[in-house]
């Protein structure tokens, strides 16, 4: 709790971008709570959190990669294919855990491939993950999965519990989101690997000269992102009892990036924390939920999302103007 507060308040007393986004989120919440009946009810809040759980889980994985100055566009593809393959294997007669193990192995393989291409062949992550995402989708649809949709077999109740069950009255997707967020936060702020990822994202050359094993670290971050994608995939498949692989043609991966950037994780690496991901996901959840109740159409919702993103970044720039010298360095 103390760490969360310190993160929100920023180091120099000036509000951080996280705090700005948090304030906007609270303002939106109060606005909707006052103007919409039933918005602030427990039922609606749980529904709201549930609707952003998948997005939130994916964002924790993306955050790790982005803090290490990378980008993982293959995340949604890995999520869809690994989960769908798990379901297909279960339909083929395999029990839950072996099927999950194979699905996880597939996800990790794509993650390691991403990391290896970026670290050793030194291809920019944008292109590398774009390509591996398509490879993953192609291989999956061609060799692993029979149709566009994959369904869990009849009677797979333990599988359905992952997405539809409740623990102490809270739906499982929310629990998984909270566990993922807490775990990644702990990893980034308390472990040596976490420190190294921040170092990598801040200045790869300096980190390398310092003796950080940069390449294994890059591979780790992408493998971790794929792992999180697999978890998100299982949650998604279980909560709606199917996996629609067409999800990779949606804008989900950009929503994930939106959430990550919104809270103040910089695409230039080294800055931000999981607190900001949670705050960003909450803001998006509040906005979308409120607007859906208000019957705002999806185009207007998209516009609202982007306005919020730009506003948060502009306010942050105003409050934290860059020094001329460091500004120039970035341009070269």
């Amino acid at each position: 709790m103390a760490g969360l507060l310190a993160g929100l308040l920023g180091r120099f007393g000036k509000p951080s971008q996280e705090l700005i986004v948090f304030a906007i989120a609270v303002a939106c919440f109060i606005f909707f709570a006052v103007s919409l009946q039933g918005f602030a009810s427990i039922g609606n809040i749980v529904a709201m959190l549930r609707s952003i759980a998948i997005l939130g889980i994916l964002s924790t994985g993306m955050a790790v990669v982005v803090i290490g100055r990378g980008l993982d566009l293959s995340q949604v593809s890995v999520m869809a294919i690994s989960a769908a393959w798990t379901l297909t294997l279960m339909n083929g007669g395999m029990t839950l855990f072996p099927a999950m193990a194979l699905g996880l192995l597939f996800a990790l393989a794509i993650g390691v491939l991403n990391g290896w291409i970026i670290a050793f062949i030194e291809i920019p992550p944008l292109f590398a993950t774009l390509a591996t995402g398509l490879v993953c989708f192609g291989v999956g649809r061609w060799l692993l999965i029979d149709s566009v949709h994959a369904y869990p077999p009849k009677g797979a109740d333990d599988f359905l519990f992952i997405g539809q069950g409740h623990l102490v009255g809270i739906p499982m997707p929310i629990i998984i989101f909270i566990v993922a967020a807490v775990f990644v936060h702990w990893m980034l702020s308390r472990t040596v690997v976490g420190r190294h990822i921040f170092g990598l994202g801040d200045n790869m050359l300096a980190a390398r000269l310092m003796g950080v094993a940069v390449r294994p670290l890059i591979i780790f971050s992408y493998a971790f992102s794929a792992f999180i994608a697999f978890i998100a995939g299982l949650t998604m498949a279980s909560s709606v009892a199917s996996m629609n692989t067409e999800v990779i043609n949606s804008t989900l991966v950009f929503d994930v990036l939106l959430v990550v950037v919104l809270g103040g994780i910089s695409l230039s690496g080294g800055r931000g924390s999981i607190v900001s991901v949670v705050v960003g996901a909450c803001l998006i959840g509040i906005l979308l939920n409120g607007m859906t109740i208000l019957n705002v159409n999806s185009d207007a919702q998209n516009i609202a999302k982007s306005v919020v993103l730009l506003a948060a970044i502009v306010i942050d720039r105003r409050l934290h103007p860059k020094d001329e010298e460091t500004d120039k360095q970035g341009d070269h």
Partner: protein
């Protein structure tokens, strides 16, 4: 505005040192992150004058030049051009007013041809190649430059690039050309050619601001000299009234600055020191591409070996090969021994595990992590070494290491929680050094340890280096600054074109001997 430009087109060769100054700067002040880079500096420049700026590293010469050329904005102070107050927000505006800057690192576009670079920023709507080349050729020939305008800039050497850059300034009708360390990368012959050119420009009525470390050059070529020290204006005087000793005294602000190494030599502290010592590092015939060719040398325990030489002589490259940042040739790449064992590192991590650290010359690019505090930088470095293998981080250890190291190296900062890029150059350098020392190395390679370091911190960094050697660490220092070479060295290695060509015992060599070995 137009009247100004027209006036600019007509050079005034007769108007030297009389009448109105072309540029007058009053009370120029620039603050970076709370530190004054320059403070209340006055400067003026008359038409057809060569005005040298002198001062040590970090005295504010470059800052003043950048302010004149519109690269940075002054925090306060006025700039008058032709008696009219002007504000330059970007280099384009000052170029339009006739002020051009020729940078240390040239600012040409490497993939374009010479002629295209000349016209860069002044293109017509349609540019015919043939017309462009003819125009370029005429331009270059009037300046007596022997460069083919059709060549791409990437294929040119440092001296030729500089010529193109000068031609570009002339092409843009510059009335004022600012040279920042123009001779640092030139050979003696090229330097002579360059001086002829500067005098030629002066004869055409161009005013020149000349910044150089080499005092002799400034004394030789300039009409007036301004000395800056610690960002403040010390004196402006006609060159004819200045001697080298005066200049040094004004720059350093004290007499004994140069006698430090002579003192050490007198004490007999240096001579014959290496003979009794254990050899730690041996470099044998190491080769890497064109940069390092058959380089061989050794370094001994408890000794400071200084490698002198020009930029591009393979010094940084060999250091990076030793520490694993670069790889030497796989075949016929030579051998490197640490304590008698052959080593070949793929990544710096392996070198650090073996106790070899490299402290970079380019601390802004690869020296420290700018989003992190002093403590975090030092702690992360410790974590990355053998000492810090573990899984969880410890805040106690972080504070302990950070505070210890800032105290030991006398880093001047409000606290160890301040971000590194808010410190002055010298304190940043100390943090970078501290980051490496916390890894408990056996061999430390310093690459230009005092580049861009404020004057006050230089002796402190020298002291840190001496102390390391006295503790029995093997120290290699790479330096282009001869007084520094002589101050620090137990042994001097001179590199030229990828080889170590000469070796001196510290205290027995003179600046002239070292320079001679470095260029011939």
């Amino acid at each position: 505005m137009n009247a100004l430009a027209n006036e600019a087109d007509a050079p005034k060769p007769d108007a030297s040192n009389i009448g109105e100054p072309l540029i007058k700067v009053i009370g120029a002040t620039k603050i970076y992150g709370g530190v004054h880079a320059i403070e209340g500096v006055d400067f003026d420049l008359y038409p057809g004058e060569i005005h040298a700026l002198a001062g040590e590293n970090g005295a504010g010469k470059s800052t003043l030049c950048k302010a004149l050329s519109g690269t940075i904005k002054l925090t306060s102070g006025t700039t008058m051009v032709d008696g009219v107050e002007r504000h330059f927000d970007n280099p384009g505006e000052s170029l339009a007013a006739g002020i051009a800057m020729v940078y240390q690192e040239t600012s040409l576009v490497p993939s374009m041809s010479v002629a295209q670079n000349l016209r860069l920023g002044k293109e017509k709507f349609m540019n015919r190649m043939r017309g462009l080349y003819i125009e370029g050729q005429v331009m270059l020939q009037t300046l007596n430059f022997h460069v083919d305008p059709a060549l791409s800039v990437a294929t040119l050497g440092a001296a030729q690039r500089q010529m193109v850059e000068i031609a570009r300034a002339v092409y843009h009708d510059a009335r004022v050309i600012i040279f920042d360390e123009p001779t640092a990368t030139l050979t003696p012959e090229e330097k002579q050619h360059f001086f002829d050119l500067v005098r030629d420009l002066k004869a055409r009525g161009v005013s020149i601001v000349y910044v150089s470390h080499a005092l002799e050059e400034s004394l030789d070529i300039s009409d007036r000299i301004t000395v800056l020290r610690d960002g403040k204006h010390i004196i402006t005087a006609p060159t004819s009234e200045m001697s080298r000793e005066d200049l040094v005294r004004h720059m350093v602000g004290r007499e004994e600055a140069q006698s430090h190494y002579q003192q050490r030599a007198k004490d007999g502290e240096i001579e014959g020191k290496s003979k009794k010592r254990r050899r730690v590092l041996t470099v044998e015939n190491v080769t890497m591409g064109n940069m390092v060719k058959n380089m061989s040398f050794s370094a001994y325990e408890g000794e400071v070996a200084v490698m002198a030489g020009l930029v591009g002589s393979g010094r940084t490259e060999i250091a990076k090969i030793i520490c694993g940042a670069y790889k030497r040739n796989l075949f016929h790449g030579g051998r490197i021994f640490l304590d008698g064992e052959a080593i070949r590192y793929r990544v710096p991590k392996q070198a650090i595990d073996d106790g070899i650290v490299y402290i970079t010359e380019d601390r802004k690019i690869e020296g420290f992590l700018e989003t992190m505090s002093i403590k975090d930088n030092i702690y992360l470095s410790w974590l990355a070494s053998k000492l810090g293998r573990g899984f969880l981080i410890s805040n106690g250890r972080r504070n302990e290491l950070g505070t210890d190291m800032t105290k030991r190296l006398e880093v001047r900062a409000p606290s160890a929680d301040v971000k590194v890029n808010e410190l002055s150059g010298g304190n940043q350098q100390k943090v970078v050094v501290g980051k490496s020392l916390v890894q408990k190395p056996k061999v430390v390679i310093f690459d230009e340890p005092t580049r861009g370091v404020d004057v006050g911190s230089i002796p402190e960094i020298h002291q840190i280096i001496r102390n390391l050697a006295d503790e029995g660490v093997t120290v290699i220092v790479i330096s282009s600054y001869l007084p520094e070479v002589l101050t620090l060295a137990d042994r001097i290695l001179v590199a030229r074109q990828g080889r170590v060509v000469e070796e001196f015992v510290g205290g027995q060599a003179t600046e002239e001997e070292i320079m001679y070995a470095a260029v011939h």
